[in-house]
């Protein structure tokens, strides 16, 4: 067996690393970087969800940007739309007093009454849930790449709808989204004073989802998804409801994308139509591929790193091209992602420095030399 850290220990180490980052940045006088880092952590949640669909269930989604946008825009619309406009509506009196509403001032200091961010959050998740089921149900009952096609078309529609609708702000997007008081003294907000707090909210959420997915993929559900990826027919004959499992994985990951959209929209106080663009969806796929597709850790790390570099403007005006090239490069040169071959190289290097007994993954199989390891082990990027 490969030498591996105990999961509990890995998560503790990761949490520790995430905790010291703000102090390191403060010490290096680079605290301003925390803003982009926080944003990258939210984007990593989208890619982490994609990892479940693509790396485990083996289905390609080209619509995750659209799910992110559904989350973000639902939240933005509901928390900026002034409900006091409908003076005559009978229900307004009741809703005004309920905790569902929030009286505040808009960007110009006018008093407005909007829905509270929590209501908007649940509405966004409900909408994403319904839409993901509507798209996934017909596409995933079949075998093959129907989900990729359906989600591609869906993403384009969402993009056009956002661009062509007045209440989504058309090409300008929506600004003036309020901060989101989560309770427990935590507020999702882009305010400078709350920068560190928000970094911790984002890393806490990412860590939580990482732990949940880690548990999931190491359970009967995770094995079932991997079995579907490998051989759908055999998986079905072994008692797995393949259509339902693919759908559940897809819906779960769409919900993660929408959730990231909600948080990031409150964090940056707005959202624009580029979030729903096809290029964004392709970028998420590229990031998942760069992280090794089925490696939760690799995907989280790579996507945080590359998104951070992109948000810092390191790729300049070639930003989208970089991710396109990345995807092409990985598909053609390293279908299992760059991290696994690197890790193998490292292990071989370490192994060469050790006595030759019990080296590498073949040690479990004394009568079977490395030459017999089948080549069909390499993971196929697109099943």
């Amino acid at each position: 067996m490969k030498p591996r850290l105990k999961p509990g220990l890995s998560f503790t180490l990761l949490a520790a690393a995430l905790i010291v980052v703000p102090w390191i940045l403060r010490w290096a006088d680079m605290e301003y970087c925390l803003t982009q880092l926080t944003m990258s952590l939210y984007y990593a949640i989208v890619v982490l969800g994609l990892c479940l669909v693509m790396g485990y269930a083996g289905q390609v989604s080209l619509g995750h940007g659209a799910f992110f946008a559904i989350g973000g825009y639902t939240s933005a619309v509901l928390t900026t739309c002034d409900v006091s406009k409908w003076q005559t509506a009978a229900w307004l009196g009741w809703i005004k007093q309920s905790p569902f509403c929030m009286a505040r001032e808009d960007l110009f200091g006018n008093p407005i009454l909007t829905l509270s961010p929590w209501v908007a959050f649940f509405a966004a998740m409900a909408l994403a849930f319904v839409v993901a089921n509507l798209i996934g149900y017909p596409a995933l009952r079949l075998r093959g790449h129907y989900l990729a096609m359906a989600t591609l078309g869906f993403g384009m529609i969402v993009n056009k709808v956002i661009l062509g609708t007045a209440f989504t702000g058309a090409a300008d997007g929506i600004n003036g989204v309020p901060e989101w008081n989560l309770g427990l003294g935590l507020t999702v907000s882009g305010k400078r004073a709350l920068r560190i707090e928000n970094y911790f909210i984002a890393s806490g959420l990412l860590l939580l989802l990482l732990v949940l997915l880690h548990n999931l993929v190491r359970s009967r559900v995770g094995r079932a998804l991997q079995a579907i990826h490998d051989r759908e027919t055999a998986a079905n004959a072994m008692g797995i409801n393949t259509a339902l499992y693919k759908l559940k994985a897809f819906v779960l990951s769409a919900l993660m994308a929408a959730m990231a959209g909600v948080f990031l929209t409150h964090y940056t106080a707005g959202i624009g139509p580029s979030e729903a663009g096809a290029l964004k969806s392709v970028r998420y796929v590229a990031l998942a591929a760069a992280g090794g597709m089925s490696s939760l850790w690799g995907v989280t790390g790579m996507s945080t790193l590359l998104n951070y570099m992109s948000l810092r403007g390191l790729f300049g005006s070639y930003d989208n091209a970089v991710f396109g090239l990345l995807l092409i490069g990985i598909v053609s040169l390293a279908p299992e992602g760059p991290l696994k071959p690197l890790a193998r190289l490292l292990r071989r290097f370490v192994g060469a420095c050790r006595p030759p007994n019990a080296v590498g993954p073949d040690a479990a199989r004394p009568d079977n030399g490395p030459a017999r390891r089948a080549s069909d082990q390499t993971q196929c990027l697109f099943p």
Binding site: L213, N215, S219, R223, K248, R372
Partner: protein, 259 residues
């Protein structure tokens, strides 16, 4: 009463009739074999029984209920499991995990429970692992538990597939040419293994080309030719059936003699 009852089942691919109104029964505890030349429709018949293909007409009963039109996963839950003519293990997983997948239809925790490790879920997971380990020991491959499935030899793959199928706790086990690609010693092991499985109370429907194995193991034999049933009976009846010898056994015997 029969455990499996196939009644007038028909299936065609385009214009080619692969199974032409076949009827037969499998009694509980039996080892029944289906033989016939390549292309006779044996694999198609298996695919119909386990739900991968939907018959155009006819009905299938398993135990006391009709399973016609059921999805494969429902049929697996009902108690029918199988191995494939071309071993189809999950190559991204190790051997133990492959067998653990077989426990899927006998366990229950879903996405949420597994994600949060709800009390009881880790225990079920441990039970899955243990049951899979037991099946691997049963087929004599416990030492390969951690080995990647892709690194196995052909014969070992077949045995892991058998362990995976047994892990679903089937009442009826369909074995599609389990002996093909095995050497003489492995075939002898396989014969013993099939008998042991039957002694556990599992009914077996077997497709096999090795006539020594078939005649040795079977309680009853069904002969298919061009999708149609041409004979059914005990091994000795089949060996002495003119029609069978003409269309199949004769050729097969020559073939065996030649190789």
């Amino acid at each position: 009463m029969a455990l499996l009852e196939i009644d007038n089942v028909r299936h065609s691919f385009g214009g080619l009739v692969a199974i032409d109104r076949v009827s037969f029964e499998v009694a509980p505890g039996q080892i029944k074999s289906v033989i016939g030349p390549n292309g006779a429709g044996k694999t198609t018949l298996f695919n119909i029984v386990c739900g991968l293909l939907r018959p155009e007409s006819g009905s299938i009963r398993f135990g006391d209920r009709s399973i016609t039109g059921f999805k494969p996963y429902q049929i697996a839950r009902a108690g029918v499991s199988r191995t494939f003519q071309n071993p189809s293990l999950f190559l991204q997983m190790n051997v133990l995990e492959n067998v653990m997948v077989g426990r899927h239809c006998r366990t229950r925790w879903e996405f949420l429970g597994c994600g949060v490790r709800w009390p009881g879920q880790p225990k079920e997971e441990a039970a899955i692992r243990e049951a899979a380990q037991t099946q691997l020991e049963y087929v004599g491959l416990a030492h390969l538990a951690e080995c990647p499935a892709g690194a196995l030899a052909f014969g070992e793959r077949r045995m892991v597939e058998l362990a995976r199928a047994l892990a679903t706790e089937p009442q009826l086990l369909l074995l599609d040419e389990p002996g093909s690609g095995l050497n003489t010693r492995e075939k002898a092991d396989l014969g013993r293994m099939i008998r042991r499985v039957r002694e556990r109370g599992v009914t077996i429907l077997l497709v096999e080309h090795d006539m020594t194995l078939v005649m040795d193991l079977s309680d009853a034999i069904l002969v298919l030719h061009n999708g149609a049933r041409i004979a059914e009976g005990t091994p000795s009846e089949i060996q002495n059936d003119d029609k069978v010898v003409r269309v199949y056994l004769g050729g097969e015997m020559n073939h065996v003699a030649a190789s």
